[in-house]
């Protein structure tokens, strides 16, 4: 192992980090909105809403992300005249937006199931208690259902965010020069696959380490009831009364 070379490789690959994080956070952010919509559709109890959501999750969870990226990028590229007519070509022309779209659609399918699991894990008696206190509709969701559901879903959702950070590496197949794309280019110039991929792996590890810490902090913040209560000094003077 040549550490001087690995340091150079590290610096080269670092320039891909902004794009990797940009793709991951765009996809997770937009995907969360879509996922919430899908989860509510699934739980609506109306077949017209439930079935399309089920079909969506089935398709996007059941096919490889790489295939989805290829279909959106190269597949839709063959329908340029139609897309131009609809004014969508400006969007599909750019590999960046195609990558964001594919990642968003994919993560929404997984995240909607995580959110549904969280929402369904809210104990019924707590909802009943809230109703007994006169809460209903949005207030019930905001005060009781969402806080409990988010707490339940967060560990699984954290994994999904990490999976998305790693999934951005597939964007290199549609010319996006993120960390993996730069690594492949560097290998083609130096033919030193082991060193470059070790460094690339290390960069993903560092990014995901920071993300897991942030998720852990949010988990801690959301679960005050699980924390040990602060030790209270016994009030000595009271003992003598």
């Amino acid at each position: 192992m040549d550490f001087a070379f690995m340091w150079d490789a590290f610096l080269t690959l670092l320039s891909g980090v902004p794009l990797t994080l940009n793709l991951a956070f765009m996809a997770v952010g937009l995907g969360a909105v879509l996922a919430m919509l899908l989860a509510l559709m699934r739980m609506s109890g109306l077949k017209v809403l439930d079935w399309p959501a089920q079909a969506y999750v089935f398709v996007f969870r059941g096919t490889p992300l790489l295939v989805q990226i290829f279909l959106i990028y190269y597949g839709l590229g063959q329908f340029r005249p139609t897309l131009q007519e609809w004014g969508l070509w400006v969007f599909f022309r750019e590999p960046y937006w195609c990558a964001v779209l594919a990642l968003t659609l994919n993560t929404a399918a997984y995240a909607s199931e995580i959110m549904r699991g969280g929402l369904q894990s809210v104990p019924h008696n707590q909802v009943e208690a809230a109703r007994a206190c006169g809460m209903s509709g949005f207030l019930l969701y905001r005060r009781v259902v969402f806080p409990i559901a988010v707490r339940q879903a967060l560990p699984a959702y954290g994994s999904e965010i990490i999976l998305m950070v790693k999934a951005t590496s597939l964007a290199s197949v549609i010319t996006m020069m993120e960390v993996t794309g730069l690594a492949a280019k560097l290998i083609s110039q130096t033919f030193r696959a082991i060193e470059v991929f070790v460094v690339a792996g290390l960069i993903y590890l560092i990014m995901n380490f920071i993300i897991t810490r942030i998720i852990m902090a949010i988990e801690w913040w959301l679960s005050p009831h699980l924390r040990r209560p602060p030790a209270v000094e016994p009030r000595l003077e009271a003992a003598h009364v």
Partner: protein, 281 residues
């Protein structure tokens, strides 16, 4: 006991038989990309076909070895060779100084210039230098002047190249300051994106461009720009192998020279490329 002895003898016998066969016919595993028509590609039946498949079979017959041809993705083709996944590469790979630091070459067995593929109705179709030929090695000044002549035309354009190739290196060195360069995994992918209008031009090997122009979808496209060879574009296409394998290298070297001499390379080249790419020494 007798049973054990019988089995032992049978095993010994088959081991000897296999050893004997190995001594007569060595197997050489050759990797190709399988996505670089007409050099090498995967045919409709899923079988590898192309100029290099035919040539490899011919060379192996001359070397009296048994050949096994396998497909390997282009961007990992050299690391997998050094990791001993196979013994040789025949994948339209140009002999360059940079690659020579890592692997050895036999040949060249073919030599072809680069060019641009553009739409006929694009402003790039009138690229200066079309039809002229330059060698970046022996006529560097003239070749670079030809590049400078077409460079202003490419300003602000997007050019597709296959990553990890001499063309991506050429683009990085000469065109990066005026145009956006996008790197693709295969030539088929940059062709698709050119047809989709995401990129303005493709920079590739002229043979790959001729192969693309054969397809009906590309009837409104043309090859333009000067034909450039040599220099960072390498000294022709050769067989790649690990360093230090003198016997294998000599075997390929002799076989290639014989195939060039008796016209086999010319025949195969005309069959697949419709032009003669036989390297001239």
């Amino acid at each position: 006991m007798k049973f054990v002895k019988t089995i032992g003898l049978a095993l010994l016998g088959s081991a000897l038989a296999m050893g004997g066969a190995a001594a007569q016919e060595k197997t050489v595993k050759i990797a190709t990309e399988g996505a670089y028509a007409p050099w090498n590609f995967t045919g409709p039946g899923g079988k590898l076909e192309g100029f290099e498949i035919d040539l490899a079979n011919d060379l192996c017959a001359r070397m009296k070895v048994k050949c096994e041809i396998v497909a390997q993705d282009w961007d990992g083709i050299i690391p997998a060779l050094t990791a001993k996944k196979y013994d040789a590469i025949m994948a339209g790979m140009s002999i360059t100084d940079e690659r020579k630091k890592t692997i050895d070459f036999a040949g060249p067995y073919a030599n072809s210039p680069n060019g641009f593929l553009v739409a006929k109705n694009s402003p790039l179709a009138k690229m200066p230098g079309t039809g002229e030929a330059f060698n970046l090695g022996s006529q560097q000044a003239a070749a670079e002047k030809a590049i400078q002549a077409y460079k202003p035309l490419l300003k602000g354009k997007t050019i597709g190249v296959q990553g990890s190739t001499i063309h991506s290196k050429f683009a990085d060195k000469y065109l990066k300051d005026v145009a956006e360069i996008r790197e693709y995994k295969t030539t088929e992918q940059h062709d698709l994106d050119l047809a989709a209008g995401r990129i303005d031009a493709v920079l590739a090997d002229s043979t790959a461009i001729i192969g693309t122009l054969d397809k009906p979808e590309f009837k409104d496209y043309a090859m333009v720009g000067p034909s450039i060879t040599g220099g960072i574009l390498g000294a022709g296409v050769g067989v790649g192998m690990r360093q230090g394998e003198a016997e294998l290298k000599k075997g390929f070297e002799d076989a290639i020279q014989a195939a060039i001499k008796d016209g086999t390379v010319k025949k195969l080249s005309e069959k697949w490329f419709k032009v003669d790419l036989t390297p001239r020494s």
